[in-house]
C-alpha cells in the first residue's frame, strides 16, 4: 500500500524528534537535565544561531570531554555532578510576591544597610511591581545615547544575530575553547552575557552596567562577555551588584574576553556578592570564572578592579596579555572570605611587548574559618625588554581560625625588566579597635572603618557609585567576625 502524504509527514516528524534524542518542542521551557551533544545543539537551535557558532560549541564540548577538572587550587568542594544541571531554561521571571512583607527579612535588612531605595528593593526581591515601564524607558534612553556614538552594547545572543562577523572574529581569541576545563564548558553551553563594541576614537560617555541589559533575566550561570575597543577608544564596564543574589544554580562558570587596540582603554569593575552559603558553607555559589584581557594595541590599557565578598568558593584570575608595546595591565582586588568561604584568586600578567607595565594590588581579608589565597603570575617573556611590574599583596586576618596564603609566581626571561613584589600580613589590632570604640564607634563601625582603610588603594579605583556601595558591602560581609 502506498503511504499517504499524511503518514509520510508523520513519520518524518517523529524521526526528526529522534534525531535529537527527545521530542523537540520549540516551545519547551527547559532542556532535560544533563549534558550531551544534543543539549548543545538544543541550546544553539533555541537561540537560532548560525552554523559556525554551533560548530564552535560542539568543538568545545568535544574538547571538554577529554579534559579533567583542575584540582590544584586551595579550595575544597564536593564533586560536581555535571549531569545534574539544567543547561538551558527559558528566561524565567523570579517568583512574584505581593509586597516587601513577604520577603526574607534578612535580605531586607541587607538592602537597608546598603542604602538601596525601596523601589529597587522591590525589584530585586521579585515583588510584582510596575517597574518594567521604568527600566525599559531608562534603558531605551540609554541605548539611544550609545547608538548615536556608534557604540554597541547588547546581550551576546543579540550580537550573534546582528553583528555575526564581529563575534566570529573575536570570540575565543583571548580565551580559546581548550584554555581550561570551565572555559571549555562555558564555550559549549553559554546562554547569555554582554557584547560591547566601541568604534575608533570614541570615548563611551557613560559607565556600562549589566543593570541596563534588558531582556536578560537569566541568572548568569554560564555567561559569556566580549568587549572590543578600537583604536583611541575608551569604555568603563561595571559587572555585578552589591545586593545579595541567590540562585538555584550553584555553579557559575563565566568567561570574559576583553580586546583593546592602539591607545585604547578598558576599565572593567566587578562587585560580586553571590550567596556565600550558610555559616557552614552549605548551599553557596561556586564562582569559577575565566577573565582575560588582550592588550593588542600599542599603548593600550586594561584594568580589572574587583570586590569579591560573596560565593562559597571564588576561583578566578582576571589577567592581561600585554602584547602591544608600552601597554599597561592593572589588577586591583579586595577579596573577603568569612565563615566557611574559600577564595583562591589573583591574576596573571604576561609581558610580551617592549616597555610594558603591570600593577597588581591585592587585598585579602579573612575572617571566621575562611581560607583566602592570592595566586599571581608575572611572566616577562624574553623580548619584553624594559618591562616593569609592581605587585603588592596584603592580607588581613580577623580572628584566629582563618587563613591567608600567598602563591606568587615570577618568571622573568630578560634581565632588562624590573619586577617588584611586596607582601604584608596583619591582624586588626586590639589597640586600633579600642581607639575607635573610645571615640564612640561601635564594633561594627570600627571594623568597617579599619578594613576599608586597609582596602583604600583598591577602593579608589572603583567608579564612584560602586565604591560607596562596595564599602558598605565589605562592612556587612564581616558582620559578627569581631567581638
Amino acid at each position: 500500500m502506498v503511504a499517504t502524504q499524511e503518514t509520510i509527514d508523520k513519520v518524518k516528524e517523529v524521526s526528526q524528534s529522534y534525531k535529537y534524542g527527545f521530542i523537540t518542542n520549540v516551545e519547551s521551557e527547559k532542556a532535560p537535565l544533563g549534558l550531551n551533544e544534543d543539549i548543545v545543539r538544543f541550546i544553539s537551535q533555541k537561540k537560532k544561531e548560525p552554523q559556525w557558532l554551533l560548530e564552535w560549541r560542539l568543538k568545545a564540548y568535544k574538547k571538554w570531554l577529554t579534559m579533567k577538572q583542575p584540582n590544584w587550587a586551595m579550595v575544597n568542594f564536593p564533586d560536581i555532578n555535571f549531569q545534574d544541571i539544567y543547561y538551558y531554561s527559558a528566561p524565567k521571571t523570579k517568583p512574584k510576591l505581593n509586597s516587601l512583607d513577604e520577603v526574607d527579612p534578612e535580605l531586607l535588612r541587607t538592602y537597608e544597610k546598603l542604602g538601596i531605595p525601596i523601589k529597587e528593593q522591590e525589584m530585586l526581591a521579585g515583588v510584582a511591581v510596575d517597574y518594567v515601564f521604568d527600566s525599559v524607558s531608562v534603558a531605551t534612553t540609554f541605548r539611544e545615547k550609545l547608538e548615536k556614538e556608534g557604540i554597541i552594547f547588547c546581550p551576546i545572543s543579540e550580537a550573534v544575530q546582528n553583528y555575526p562577523e564581529l563575534v566570529k572574529k573575536y570570540i575565543g581569541s583571548v580565551i580559546p575553547i581548550g584554555d581550561n576545563y570551565y572555559a571549555a564548558l562555558n564555550s559549549a553551553v553559554f546562554t547569555d552575557g554582554s557584547f560591547v563594541y566601541v568604534p575608533k576614537g570614541v570615548r563611551c560617555p557613560m559607565e556600562l552596567s549589566t543593570y541596563f541589559r534588558i531582556n536578560e533575566q537569566n541568572s548568569g550561570q554560564f555567561e559569556r562577555t566580549l568587549i572590543i575597543v578600537e583604536d583611541d577608544a575608551y569604555v568603563s564596564y561595571l559587572e555585578g551588584c552589591t545586593a545579595p543574589q541567590r540562585d538555584e544554580n550553584q555553579l557559575h562558570a563565566a568567561v570574559v574576553e576583553l580586546i583593546a587596540m592602539n591607545n585604547s582603554e578598558i576599565k572593567y569593575s566587578t562587585v560580586q556578592n553571590w550567596y556565600p552559603g550558610d555559616k557552614d558553607g552549605k548551599g553557596g555559589i561556586y564562582n569559577f570564572v575565566t577573565k582575560r584581557g588582550n592588550c593588542l594595541g600599542k599603548r593600550s590599557k586594561i584594568s580589572w578592579t574587583q570586590v569579591e565578598t560573596g560565593s562559597a568558593i571564588t576561583w578566578k584570575y582576571p589577567s592581561c596579555i600585554l602584547k602591544g608595546d608600552e601597554s599597561v595591565g592593572e589588577f586591583y582586588s579586595v577579596a573577603v572570605a568569612n565563615n566557611a568561604q574559600q577564595a583562591d584568586t589573583g591574576t596573571k600578567m604576561i609581558h610580551i611587548g617592549k616597555n610594558t607595565k603591570s600593577t597588581i594590588i591585592s587585598k585579602g581579608i579573612s575572617a571566621g574559618k575562611a581560607q583566602n589565597t592570592y595566586r599571581g603570575q608575572v611572566q616577562i617573556q624574553k623580548n619584553a625588554l624594559g618591562s616593569r611590574n609592581f605587585t603588592q599583596c596584603d592580607s588581613l586576618l580577623i580572628g584566629d581560625k582563618c587563613g591567608a596564603h600567598t602563591v606568587p609566581y615570577i618568571n622573568q626571561y630578560t634581565p632588562s625588566a624590573r619586577v617588584e613584589h611586596e607582601a604584608t600580613t596583619s591582624k586588626i589590632s586590639e589597640d586600633q579597635l579600642f581607639y575607635c570604640l573610645q571615640r564612640g564607634l561601635d564594633t561594627e563601625q570600627a571594623t568597617s572603618l579599619i578594613v576599608n582603610g586597609f582596602c583604600k588603594e583598591v577602593m579608589k579605583e572603583l567608579p564612584m557609585e560602586f565604591a560607596v556601595e562596595a564599602q558598605k558591602l565589605i562592612g556587612i560581609s564581616l558582620e559578627g567576625s569581631v567581638g
Binding site: 586590639e430 573610645q438 564607634l441 586597609f454
Partner: protein, 250 residues
C-alpha cells in the same frame, strides 16, 4: 551628685592586684590631677574608666552623672560623654582623619539626639577647631596618626576632645614626649575646654604640665590607691621631695 565617682575600685591583671580600693570624686567644673610613680596603676586606671576589654572591676563602682558605667561597653561610655586622650595614640592606616572625626562626632550627637553633621558642615566646624590647635588642613587629609610626630598626635587628641565636647575627659600622660612649645599648645587647647559643665582628670608623672593646666585638686596615686589629696601646692611638694618622701609619710 558628682559628675564622676569612683568607689573602692579593685582590679586584678594577670592575677596581680593593680587597683586596690581606689576612690575619687570629681564634680562639674573641676580639674583633678593624678600623679604617681611608675607602676602605681595610672594606665590601668585610664583603661578601666574607658572600659577596655580585660579591665573589668573585681570590686567597686564607677558612676557617671549618677549612672553606673560597669555594664556599659567602651563605646557606650564614650557616647555617654567619657573621653580618653591616649598616651600612645595608635595609627589607623587608610582611615582619613577628617572622616574619622566626623564619624566620632556624629555618633555622640546621635546619642544626644542632636542633628548629625553632613560632610560640608563638618569640614567647616573641624577647620575652625583645628586652627586653634595649630592642626593644619593638610594633616586632616592624612590617615589617623600615620606619620604624625609625637606633638602632632597629642594635638590631634586634644582636637578630638574639642570637637566631641565630653562631660569628663581623662588625659593619660598627655605631656609625655612633648617639647615646651607643643606642651603650651596642648595645654591651651585643654584650658579652652574648661567649663562649669564638664570636668577633666589629668594623669601625669611630672609637675611641669600642671604649670600650664592648673588643677583644682591633686591626688597622689601609689600602689593602686590614692594616698594623699590636696590643692595645687601638693604637686610642688612632689617636685621638691619626690614620690618616695610622700609615700613614706603616709
Amino acid at each position: 551628685m558628682s559628675l564622676l565617682e569612683i568607689r573602692n575600685a579593685c582590679l586584678k591583671l594577670d592575677g596581680k592586684d593593680i587597683l586596690k580600693g581606689l576612690s575619687l570624686s570629681v564634680n562639674e567644673g573641676e580639674v583633678h590631677a593624678i600623679m604617681g610613680p611608675n607602676g602605681s596603676g595610672k594606665s590601668t586606671l585610664s583603661y578601666m574608666l574607658a572600659g577596655r576589654e580585660g579591665y573589668d572591676l573585681d570590686k567597686g563602682e564607677i558612676l557617671l552623672e549618677g549612672k553606673s558605667l560597669i555594664e556599659m561597653s567602651a563605646d557606650e561610655r564614650a557616647r555617654s560623654g567619657l573621653f580618653l586622650a591616649f598616651q600612645y595614640p595608635v595609627e589607623l592606616p587608610g582611615v582619613g582623619a577628617m572622616s574619622f572625626l566626623r564619624e566620632a562626632v556624629n555618633s555622640r550627637r546621635k546619642f544626644l539626639g542632636e542633628k548629625e553633621f553632613d560632610h560640608l558642615g563638618f569640614v567647616k566646624e573641624a577647620r575652625k577647631e583645628a586652627s586653634k590647635m595649630f592642626v593644619k588642613d593638610e594633616m586632616l587629609k592624612r590617615s589617623v596618626n600615620v606619620g604624625f610626630s609625637g606633638g602632632e598626635k597629642k594635638r590631634f587628641e586634644i582636637l578630638q576632645m574639642a570637637m566631641l565636647k565630653p562631660k569628663i575627659s581623662i588625659l593619660d600622660e598627655t605631656d609625655s614626649g612633648l617639647d615646651v612649645d607643643a606642651l603650651k599648645i596642648v595645654s591651651e587647647g585643654v584650658n579652652a575646654q574648661r567649663s562649669k559643665d564638664n570636668a577633666i582628670v589629668v594623669i601625669t608623672h611630672y609637675q611641669r604640665l600642671l604649670d600650664y593646666i592648673i588643677p583644682d585638686f591633686v591626688h597622689i596615686l601609689s600602689d593602686g590607691a590614692i594616698i594623699k589629696s590636696g590643692g595645687p601646692e601638693l604637686a610642688l611638694e612632689v617636685e621638691k621631695n619626690g614620690y618616695a618622701g610622700l609615700i613614706n609619710a603616709s
